[in-house]
Protein backbone atom coordinates (compact mmCIF):
# COMPACT_ATOMS: atom_id res chain seq x y z
CA UNK A 1 0.00 0.00 0.00
CA UNK A 2 1.82 2.99 -1.33
CA UNK A 3 -0.57 5.53 0.11
CA UNK A 4 -0.36 4.19 3.65
CA UNK A 5 3.39 4.65 3.74
CA UNK A 6 3.33 8.21 2.46
CA UNK A 7 0.21 9.19 4.35
CA UNK A 8 1.96 10.97 7.25
CA UNK A 9 4.18 12.93 4.96
CA UNK A 10 1.32 13.93 2.68
CA UNK A 11 -0.82 15.03 5.56
CA UNK A 12 1.94 17.15 7.07
CA UNK A 13 2.46 18.73 3.66
CA UNK A 14 -1.20 19.68 3.34
CA UNK A 15 -1.29 20.96 6.88
CA UNK A 16 1.85 23.12 6.62
CA UNK A 17 0.67 24.53 3.35
CA UNK A 18 -2.69 25.52 4.81
CA UNK A 19 -1.11 27.06 7.90
CA UNK A 20 0.89 29.31 5.61
CA UNK A 21 -1.65 30.10 2.92
CA UNK A 22 -5.12 29.41 4.31
CA UNK A 23 -6.07 29.04 0.69
CA UNK A 24 -8.99 27.20 -0.90
CA UNK A 25 -6.39 25.38 -2.95
CA UNK A 26 -4.91 23.78 0.08
CA UNK A 27 -8.36 22.88 1.45
CA UNK A 28 -8.94 21.21 -1.90
CA UNK A 29 -5.70 19.32 -1.36
CA UNK A 30 -7.09 18.21 2.01
CA UNK A 31 -10.20 16.90 0.28
CA UNK A 32 -8.10 15.06 -2.28
CA UNK A 33 -6.21 13.55 0.62
CA UNK A 34 -9.41 12.38 2.26
CA UNK A 35 -10.60 10.85 -0.98
CA UNK A 36 -7.44 8.75 -1.10
CA UNK A 37 -7.70 7.90 2.58
CA UNK A 38 -11.27 6.68 2.06
CA UNK A 39 -10.27 4.66 -0.98
CA UNK A 40 -7.57 3.02 1.11
CA UNK A 41 -10.06 2.38 3.89
CA UNK A 42 -8.13 4.37 6.48
CA UNK A 43 -10.41 4.48 9.52
CA UNK A 44 -11.18 7.92 11.03
CA UNK A 45 -9.22 7.30 14.26
CA UNK A 46 -6.07 7.08 12.17
CA UNK A 47 -6.80 10.48 10.68
CA UNK A 48 -6.98 11.94 14.18
CA UNK A 49 -3.71 10.26 14.98
CA UNK A 50 -2.16 11.73 11.82
CA UNK A 51 -3.31 15.14 12.98
CA UNK A 52 -1.86 14.65 16.44
CA UNK A 53 1.49 13.37 15.14
CA UNK A 54 1.74 16.17 12.60
CA UNK A 55 1.07 18.80 15.26
CA UNK A 56 3.59 17.19 17.59
CA UNK A 57 6.16 17.52 14.86
CA UNK A 58 5.20 21.02 13.71
CA UNK A 59 4.38 22.61 17.08
CA UNK A 60 6.02 20.50 19.80
CA UNK A 61 5.71 23.23 22.44
CA UNK A 62 1.93 23.49 22.61
CA UNK A 63 0.48 23.16 26.13
CA UNK A 64 -0.24 19.58 27.26
CA UNK A 65 -4.02 20.23 27.23
CA UNK A 66 -3.90 20.36 23.44
CA UNK A 67 -2.49 16.82 23.30
CA UNK A 68 -5.07 15.68 25.83
CA UNK A 69 -7.79 17.06 23.63
CA UNK A 70 -6.46 14.89 20.79
CA UNK A 71 -6.62 11.85 23.07
CA UNK A 72 -10.30 12.50 23.69
CA UNK A 73 -10.92 12.98 19.98
CA UNK A 74 -9.07 9.72 19.31
CA UNK A 75 -11.28 7.89 21.81
CA UNK A 76 -14.45 9.26 20.23
CA UNK A 77 -13.26 8.55 16.70
CA UNK A 78 -12.35 4.97 17.59
CA UNK A 79 -16.06 4.33 18.08
CA UNK A 80 -16.69 6.00 14.72
CA UNK A 81 -14.06 3.61 13.40
CA UNK A 82 -16.34 0.74 14.42
CA UNK A 83 -19.04 2.27 12.28
CA UNK A 84 -16.54 2.85 9.46
CA UNK A 85 -15.50 -0.81 9.41
CA UNK A 86 -19.11 -1.81 9.44
CA UNK A 87 -19.64 0.51 6.50
CA UNK A 88 -16.92 -1.30 4.55
CA UNK A 89 -18.45 -4.62 5.32
CA UNK A 90 -21.94 -3.38 4.41
CA UNK A 91 -20.59 -2.28 1.04
CA UNK A 92 -19.30 -5.80 0.48
CA UNK A 93 -22.61 -7.33 1.55
CA UNK A 94 -24.41 -4.91 -0.71
CA UNK A 95 -22.23 -5.77 -3.70
CA UNK A 96 -22.66 -9.46 -3.09
CA UNK A 97 -26.39 -8.94 -2.83
CA UNK A 98 -26.58 -6.91 -6.06
CA UNK A 99 -24.64 -9.64 -7.74
CA UNK A 100 -27.00 -12.30 -6.44
CA UNK A 101 -30.01 -10.27 -7.49
CA UNK A 102 -28.61 -9.92 -11.00
CA UNK A 103 -28.31 -13.67 -11.28
CA UNK A 104 -31.75 -14.11 -9.74
CA UNK A 105 -33.31 -11.69 -12.14
CA UNK A 106 -31.78 -13.47 -15.11
CA UNK A 107 -32.98 -16.80 -13.71
CA UNK A 108 -36.41 -15.23 -13.38
CA UNK A 109 -36.31 -14.08 -16.98
CA UNK A 110 -35.42 -17.56 -18.18
CA UNK A 111 -38.09 -19.14 -15.99
CA UNK A 112 -40.82 -16.73 -17.02
CA UNK A 113 -39.63 -16.78 -20.62
CA UNK A 114 -41.72 -13.90 -21.89
CA UNK A 115 -41.41 -12.78 -25.48
CA UNK A 116 -43.48 -10.62 -27.74
CA UNK A 117 -44.88 -12.38 -30.83
CA UNK A 118 -44.62 -10.94 -34.33
CA UNK A 119 -48.03 -10.95 -35.96
CA UNK A 120 -49.05 -9.68 -39.34
CA UNK A 121 -51.40 -6.73 -38.95
CA UNK A 122 -51.04 -6.41 -35.18
CA UNK A 123 -48.17 -4.34 -33.78
CA UNK A 124 -47.27 -5.03 -30.19
CA UNK A 125 -45.12 -3.05 -27.77
CA UNK A 126 -44.42 -4.31 -24.27
CA UNK A 127 -42.13 -3.28 -21.44
CA UNK A 128 -41.89 -4.52 -17.89
CA UNK A 129 -39.40 -2.90 -15.50
CA UNK A 130 -39.07 -3.96 -11.86
CA UNK A 131 -38.87 -1.27 -9.16
CA UNK A 132 -36.22 -3.35 -7.46
CA UNK A 133 -34.25 -6.08 -9.18
CA UNK A 134 -36.95 -8.73 -9.18
CA UNK A 135 -40.20 -8.27 -11.00
CA UNK A 136 -43.56 -8.87 -9.32
CA UNK A 137 -45.33 -7.94 -12.53
CA UNK A 138 -45.65 -10.46 -15.30
CA UNK A 139 -46.87 -10.49 -18.84
CA UNK A 140 -47.20 -13.34 -21.23
CA UNK A 141 -48.27 -13.79 -24.84
CA UNK A 142 -49.45 -16.98 -26.48
CA UNK A 143 -49.75 -16.92 -30.23
CA UNK A 144 -52.13 -19.65 -31.20
CA UNK A 145 -51.55 -20.07 -34.93
CA UNK A 146 -54.05 -18.16 -37.07
CA UNK A 147 -56.71 -18.34 -34.41
CA UNK A 148 -55.76 -15.89 -31.69
CA UNK A 149 -53.16 -14.04 -29.67
CA UNK A 150 -53.66 -14.39 -25.94
CA UNK A 151 -52.20 -11.90 -23.52
CA UNK A 152 -51.90 -12.07 -19.76
CA UNK A 153 -50.75 -9.26 -17.50
CA UNK A 154 -50.51 -9.79 -13.78
CA UNK A 155 -49.30 -8.05 -10.67
CA UNK A 156 -48.60 -9.62 -7.30
CA UNK A 157 -49.65 -7.34 -4.47
CA UNK A 158 -46.22 -6.61 -3.09
CA UNK A 159 -42.84 -6.21 -4.70
CA UNK A 160 -39.41 -7.72 -4.73
CA UNK A 161 -38.41 -11.28 -4.04
CA UNK A 162 -41.56 -12.58 -2.37
CA UNK A 163 -43.61 -11.28 -5.28
CA UNK A 164 -41.18 -12.81 -7.76
CA UNK A 165 -41.46 -16.22 -6.10
CA UNK A 166 -45.23 -16.04 -6.39
CA UNK A 167 -45.01 -15.05 -9.99
CA UNK A 168 -42.93 -18.05 -10.90
CA UNK A 169 -45.68 -20.21 -9.44
CA UNK A 170 -48.32 -18.46 -11.56
CA UNK A 171 -46.21 -19.10 -14.61
CA UNK A 172 -46.16 -22.84 -13.96
CA UNK A 173 -49.82 -22.85 -13.19
CA UNK A 174 -50.50 -21.16 -16.54
CA UNK A 175 -48.29 -23.62 -18.37
CA UNK A 176 -50.18 -26.53 -16.97
CA UNK A 177 -53.60 -25.25 -18.10
CA UNK A 178 -53.33 -25.47 -21.90
CA UNK A 179 -56.85 -26.72 -22.50
CA UNK A 180 -58.45 -23.60 -21.05
CA UNK A 181 -56.08 -21.23 -22.70
CA UNK A 182 -58.63 -19.76 -25.04
CA UNK A 183 -61.26 -18.62 -22.66
CA UNK A 184 -60.31 -15.70 -20.42
CA UNK A 185 -62.93 -16.37 -17.79
CA UNK A 186 -61.97 -20.04 -17.48
CA UNK A 187 -58.26 -19.21 -17.29
CA UNK A 188 -58.78 -16.78 -14.44
CA UNK A 189 -61.09 -19.24 -12.68
CA UNK A 190 -58.45 -21.96 -12.72
CA UNK A 191 -55.62 -19.71 -11.68
CA UNK A 192 -57.75 -18.39 -8.86
CA UNK A 193 -58.05 -21.88 -7.42
CA UNK A 194 -54.29 -22.49 -7.72
CA UNK A 195 -53.47 -19.25 -5.96
CA UNK A 196 -56.06 -19.81 -3.28
CA UNK A 197 -54.55 -23.23 -2.48
CA UNK A 198 -50.84 -22.59 -2.75
CA UNK A 199 -50.16 -19.11 -1.65
CA UNK A 200 -50.02 -17.36 1.67
CA UNK A 201 -53.27 -15.76 2.75
CA UNK A 202 -51.67 -12.36 2.65
CA UNK A 203 -50.65 -12.58 -1.01
CA UNK A 204 -53.03 -11.64 -3.77
CA UNK A 205 -52.60 -11.36 -7.50
CA UNK A 206 -54.40 -9.15 -9.98
CA UNK A 207 -54.59 -10.34 -13.56
CA UNK A 208 -56.03 -9.27 -16.87
CA UNK A 209 -56.44 -12.00 -19.46
CA UNK A 210 -57.32 -11.23 -23.04
CA UNK A 211 -57.89 -13.32 -26.15
CA UNK A 212 -57.60 -11.42 -29.41
CA UNK A 213 -59.28 -13.30 -32.24
CA UNK A 214 -57.28 -12.75 -35.40
CA UNK A 215 -60.08 -13.52 -37.84
CA UNK A 216 -62.75 -11.14 -36.62
CA UNK A 217 -60.56 -8.78 -34.55
CA UNK A 218 -62.61 -9.27 -31.45
CA UNK A 219 -60.96 -8.95 -28.05
CA UNK A 220 -62.45 -11.15 -25.33
CA UNK A 221 -61.24 -10.34 -21.86
CA UNK A 222 -61.69 -10.86 -18.15
CA UNK A 223 -60.06 -9.22 -15.18
CA UNK A 224 -59.26 -10.32 -11.65
CA UNK A 225 -59.18 -6.93 -9.95
CA UNK A 226 -56.51 -5.69 -12.34
CA UNK A 227 -55.88 -2.04 -13.18
CA UNK A 228 -58.26 -1.27 -16.10
CA UNK A 229 -56.62 -0.80 -19.47
CA UNK A 230 -57.56 1.67 -22.20
CA UNK A 231 -59.15 1.14 -25.54
CA UNK A 232 -58.19 3.79 -28.08
CA UNK A 233 -60.77 4.24 -30.80
CA UNK A 234 -59.17 5.70 -33.91
CA UNK A 235 -62.53 6.73 -35.33
CA UNK A 236 -63.60 8.61 -32.19
CA UNK A 237 -60.00 9.64 -31.42
CA UNK A 238 -60.84 8.82 -27.84
CA UNK A 239 -59.46 6.71 -25.01
CA UNK A 240 -62.07 4.55 -23.25
CA UNK A 241 -61.58 2.49 -20.11
CA UNK A 242 -61.38 -1.25 -20.73
CA UNK A 243 -63.57 -1.82 -17.70
CA UNK A 244 -64.01 -5.39 -16.40
CA UNK A 245 -65.10 -6.53 -12.97
CA UNK A 246 -63.70 -9.47 -11.01
CA UNK A 247 -62.22 -10.39 -7.65
CA UNK A 248 -58.43 -10.63 -7.11
CA UNK A 249 -56.95 -14.11 -7.52
CA UNK A 250 -56.64 -15.97 -4.23
CA UNK A 251 -59.45 -14.33 -2.26
CA UNK A 252 -62.36 -16.73 -2.74
CA UNK A 253 -61.92 -20.08 -4.44
CA UNK A 254 -65.51 -20.13 -5.75
CA UNK A 255 -65.52 -16.79 -7.51
CA UNK A 256 -66.26 -16.63 -11.23
CA UNK A 257 -65.06 -14.16 -13.83
CA UNK A 258 -67.25 -12.42 -16.35
CA UNK A 259 -66.14 -12.25 -19.97
CA UNK A 260 -66.24 -8.96 -21.86
CA UNK A 261 -65.80 -8.11 -25.53
CA UNK A 262 -64.42 -5.28 -27.58
CA UNK A 263 -64.42 -4.98 -31.37
CA UNK A 264 -61.09 -3.65 -32.68
CA UNK A 265 -60.92 -1.62 -35.94
CA UNK A 266 -57.88 -0.58 -37.97
CA UNK A 267 -55.88 2.05 -36.04
CA UNK A 268 -57.45 1.10 -32.71
CA UNK A 269 -55.20 0.28 -29.76
CA UNK A 270 -55.50 -1.93 -26.70
CA UNK A 271 -53.47 -0.51 -23.83
CA UNK A 272 -52.81 -2.72 -20.82
CA UNK A 273 -50.83 -1.81 -17.74
CA UNK A 274 -50.07 -2.56 -14.13
CA UNK A 275 -50.91 -0.08 -11.39
CA UNK A 276 -47.20 0.83 -11.25
CA UNK A 277 -47.83 2.92 -14.37
CA UNK A 278 -50.56 5.06 -12.85
CA UNK A 279 -49.45 4.91 -9.25
CA UNK A 280 -46.38 6.82 -10.17
CA UNK A 281 -45.84 9.26 -7.37
CA UNK A 282 -44.46 12.60 -8.48
CA UNK A 283 -43.86 15.84 -6.61
CA UNK A 284 -47.52 16.68 -7.20
CA UNK A 285 -48.93 13.33 -6.03
CA UNK A 286 -49.93 10.34 -8.16
CA UNK A 287 -50.38 10.97 -11.84
CA UNK A 288 -53.95 10.71 -13.09
CA UNK A 289 -55.09 8.32 -15.77
CA UNK A 290 -55.75 11.42 -17.89
CA UNK A 291 -52.11 12.42 -17.56
CA UNK A 292 -51.11 9.02 -18.88
CA UNK A 293 -53.52 9.41 -21.77
CA UNK A 294 -51.98 12.76 -22.64
CA UNK A 295 -48.52 11.15 -22.62
CA UNK A 296 -49.71 8.41 -24.97
CA UNK A 297 -51.29 11.06 -27.17
CA UNK A 298 -47.90 12.76 -27.54
CA UNK A 299 -46.50 9.67 -29.21
CA UNK A 300 -49.62 8.28 -30.83
CA UNK A 301 -48.17 8.01 -34.32
CA UNK A 302 -45.08 6.09 -33.28
CA UNK A 303 -44.86 2.28 -33.34
CA UNK A 304 -46.24 0.74 -30.08
CA UNK A 305 -42.82 -0.40 -28.79
CA UNK A 306 -41.48 3.14 -29.08
CA UNK A 307 -44.54 4.64 -27.38
CA UNK A 308 -44.07 2.24 -24.49
CA UNK A 309 -40.35 3.00 -24.17
CA UNK A 310 -40.86 6.75 -24.29
CA UNK A 311 -43.62 6.70 -21.71
CA UNK A 312 -41.44 4.72 -19.34
CA UNK A 313 -38.64 7.23 -19.73
CA UNK A 314 -40.99 10.16 -19.12
CA UNK A 315 -42.51 8.62 -16.00
CA UNK A 316 -39.08 7.62 -14.69
CA UNK A 317 -38.01 11.25 -14.89
CA UNK A 318 -41.19 12.50 -13.20
CA UNK A 319 -40.36 10.22 -10.26
CA UNK A 320 -36.74 11.40 -10.06
CA UNK A 321 -35.61 7.95 -11.12
CA UNK A 322 -36.98 6.18 -8.09
CA UNK A 323 -39.68 3.71 -9.09
CA UNK A 324 -42.05 2.83 -6.26
CA UNK A 325 -43.69 -0.07 -8.03
CA UNK A 326 -43.02 -2.45 -10.87
CA UNK A 327 -43.96 -0.95 -14.22
CA UNK A 328 -45.61 -2.91 -17.03
CA UNK A 329 -47.15 -1.40 -20.13
CA UNK A 330 -48.42 -3.21 -23.21
CA UNK A 331 -49.81 -1.61 -26.36
CA UNK A 332 -51.39 -3.67 -29.15
CA UNK A 333 -52.32 -1.76 -32.30
CA UNK A 334 -54.33 -3.14 -35.18
CA UNK A 335 -52.64 -1.81 -38.33
CA UNK A 336 -54.55 -3.65 -41.03
Amino acid sequence: MDFREKMDEKFIGVLTDFMQSQSEESLYAAQQFSRLALEHKIPPEEIVNLQKSAMQELMPDLPPEVWHSFDILLEVMTAYGFAFREYQSLIDTQKEFKNEMEIASSVQETLLGTSVPTIDGLEIGALSVPAKQMNGDYFHFVHDGDHSVNVAIADVIGKGIPAALCMSMIKYAMDSLPEYRKDPSAVLGSLNRVVEQNVDDSMFITMFYGMYELKNHMLHFSSAGHEPGFFYSKQLDEFLDLEARGLLLGVDKDTTYKRYEQQVEIGDMIILMSDGVTECRTDEGFIERETLVSFINNYIDLPPQEIVNKIFRDLEKLQHFQLRDDFTLIIMKRVK
Binding site: E24, Y28, Q31, E39, K41, I91, E316, H320, F321, Q322
Partner: protein, 133 residues
Amino acid sequence: MEIQSCVTILNEWDIVAARQLGRNVAKELGFGTVDQARITTAISELARNIYLYAGQGQLCIDRLNEQGKTGLRIIAIDEGPGIPDIRKVMEDGFSTSGGLGAGLPGVRRLMDDFNIDSNPGEGTDIRATKWLR
Protein backbone atom coordinates in the same frame (compact mmCIF):
# COMPACT_ATOMS: atom_id res chain seq x y z
CA MET B 1 -35.12 36.18 -6.19
CA GLU B 2 -31.95 34.70 -7.57
CA ILE B 3 -28.48 36.08 -7.97
CA GLN B 4 -26.19 33.78 -9.90
CA SER B 5 -22.45 33.53 -10.24
CA CYS B 6 -20.75 30.95 -12.41
CA VAL B 7 -17.40 29.32 -12.97
CA THR B 8 -16.53 27.56 -16.21
CA ILE B 9 -14.95 24.21 -15.43
CA LEU B 10 -12.12 23.32 -17.79
CA ASN B 11 -9.35 22.15 -15.53
CA GLU B 12 -8.60 21.30 -11.94
CA TRP B 13 -7.93 24.92 -11.01
CA ASP B 14 -11.49 25.72 -11.91
CA ILE B 15 -12.66 23.19 -9.33
CA VAL B 16 -10.80 25.24 -6.72
CA ALA B 17 -12.38 28.44 -8.08
CA ALA B 18 -15.85 26.90 -7.88
CA ARG B 19 -15.18 25.79 -4.32
CA GLN B 20 -14.00 29.28 -3.41
CA LEU B 21 -17.09 30.83 -4.96
CA GLY B 22 -19.37 28.45 -3.12
CA ARG B 23 -17.60 28.93 0.19
CA ASN B 24 -17.77 32.72 -0.13
CA VAL B 25 -21.47 32.70 -0.92
CA ALA B 26 -22.17 30.19 1.88
CA LYS B 27 -20.27 32.36 4.37
CA GLU B 28 -22.05 35.50 3.16
CA LEU B 29 -25.46 33.88 3.52
CA GLY B 30 -24.64 32.94 7.09
CA PHE B 31 -23.98 29.19 6.85
CA GLY B 32 -21.81 27.88 9.72
CA THR B 33 -18.33 26.40 9.32
CA VAL B 34 -19.53 22.81 9.12
CA ASP B 35 -22.14 23.61 6.48
CA GLN B 36 -19.58 25.64 4.55
CA ALA B 37 -17.33 22.59 4.45
CA ARG B 38 -20.24 20.40 3.36
CA ILE B 39 -21.36 22.73 0.60
CA THR B 40 -17.80 23.05 -0.63
CA THR B 41 -17.37 19.30 -0.67
CA ALA B 42 -20.60 18.92 -2.66
CA ILE B 43 -19.36 21.53 -5.15
CA SER B 44 -16.06 19.67 -5.42
CA GLU B 45 -17.87 16.44 -6.29
CA LEU B 46 -20.04 18.02 -8.94
CA ALA B 47 -17.23 20.08 -10.47
CA ARG B 48 -14.97 17.07 -10.50
CA ASN B 49 -17.61 15.01 -12.33
CA ILE B 50 -17.74 17.69 -15.01
CA TYR B 51 -13.95 17.87 -15.25
CA LEU B 52 -13.47 14.10 -15.41
CA TYR B 53 -16.43 12.91 -17.46
CA ALA B 54 -17.70 15.82 -19.54
CA GLY B 55 -14.42 17.64 -20.14
CA GLN B 56 -16.07 20.99 -19.63
CA GLY B 57 -19.13 22.67 -18.22
CA GLN B 58 -20.46 25.34 -15.90
CA LEU B 59 -20.81 25.40 -12.16
CA CYS B 60 -23.08 28.13 -10.86
CA ILE B 61 -24.10 29.22 -7.40
CA ASP B 62 -27.54 30.76 -6.84
CA ARG B 63 -28.43 32.77 -3.77
CA LEU B 64 -32.04 31.90 -3.02
CA ASN B 65 -34.58 33.91 -1.12
CA GLU B 66 -38.00 32.31 -1.17
CA GLN B 67 -40.80 33.00 1.28
CA GLY B 68 -38.40 34.38 3.81
CA LYS B 69 -36.09 31.37 3.53
CA THR B 70 -32.48 31.85 2.52
CA GLY B 71 -30.70 29.18 0.57
CA LEU B 72 -27.92 28.27 -1.77
CA ARG B 73 -28.32 26.31 -4.97
CA ILE B 74 -25.50 24.58 -6.80
CA ILE B 75 -26.09 24.13 -10.52
CA ALA B 76 -23.78 21.91 -12.51
CA ILE B 77 -24.36 21.80 -16.25
CA ASP B 78 -22.39 20.11 -18.96
CA GLU B 79 -22.85 19.01 -22.55
CA GLY B 80 -20.88 15.83 -22.05
CA PRO B 81 -21.87 12.24 -22.86
CA GLY B 82 -24.71 12.18 -20.29
CA ILE B 83 -25.64 9.36 -17.96
CA PRO B 84 -27.28 6.40 -19.70
CA ASP B 85 -28.96 4.91 -16.63
CA ILE B 86 -29.58 7.51 -13.95
CA ARG B 87 -31.49 5.09 -11.74
CA LYS B 88 -28.43 2.87 -11.55
CA VAL B 89 -26.02 5.73 -10.90
CA MET B 90 -28.16 7.13 -8.10
CA GLU B 91 -28.42 3.71 -6.47
CA ASP B 92 -25.06 2.14 -6.94
CA GLY B 93 -22.48 4.80 -6.37
CA PHE B 94 -20.43 4.42 -3.24
CA SER B 95 -18.61 7.63 -2.32
CA THR B 96 -15.45 5.71 -1.64
CA SER B 97 -15.31 3.91 -4.94
CA GLY B 98 -14.39 6.71 -7.34
CA GLY B 99 -15.86 6.37 -10.81
CA LEU B 100 -18.62 8.20 -12.65
CA GLY B 101 -21.33 9.54 -10.42
CA ALA B 102 -19.88 7.89 -7.35
CA GLY B 103 -20.45 11.04 -5.39
CA LEU B 104 -23.98 11.81 -6.59
CA PRO B 105 -25.97 9.88 -3.98
CA GLY B 106 -23.65 11.43 -1.38
CA VAL B 107 -24.34 14.93 -2.64
CA ARG B 108 -28.06 14.21 -2.61
CA ARG B 109 -27.91 13.08 1.01
CA LEU B 110 -25.98 16.17 1.99
CA MET B 111 -28.28 18.73 0.43
CA ASP B 112 -31.96 19.43 1.11
CA ASP B 113 -33.05 19.12 -2.47
CA PHE B 114 -31.51 17.38 -5.45
CA ASN B 115 -32.55 17.20 -9.07
CA ILE B 116 -30.84 15.52 -11.95
CA ASP B 117 -31.62 15.47 -15.62
CA SER B 118 -29.44 13.79 -18.16
CA ASN B 119 -29.78 12.67 -21.74
CA PRO B 120 -27.22 10.49 -23.46
CA GLY B 121 -25.32 12.57 -26.00
CA GLU B 122 -26.82 15.82 -24.75
CA GLY B 123 -25.34 16.32 -21.31
CA THR B 124 -26.28 16.53 -17.68
CA ASP B 125 -27.98 19.15 -15.52
CA ILE B 126 -27.79 18.80 -11.75
CA ARG B 127 -29.35 21.20 -9.24
CA ALA B 128 -28.84 20.84 -5.50
CA THR B 129 -30.17 23.21 -2.85
CA LYS B 130 -29.36 23.75 0.79
CA TRP B 131 -31.52 25.95 3.02
CA LEU B 132 -30.25 27.99 5.93
CA ARG B 133 -31.79 26.84 9.21
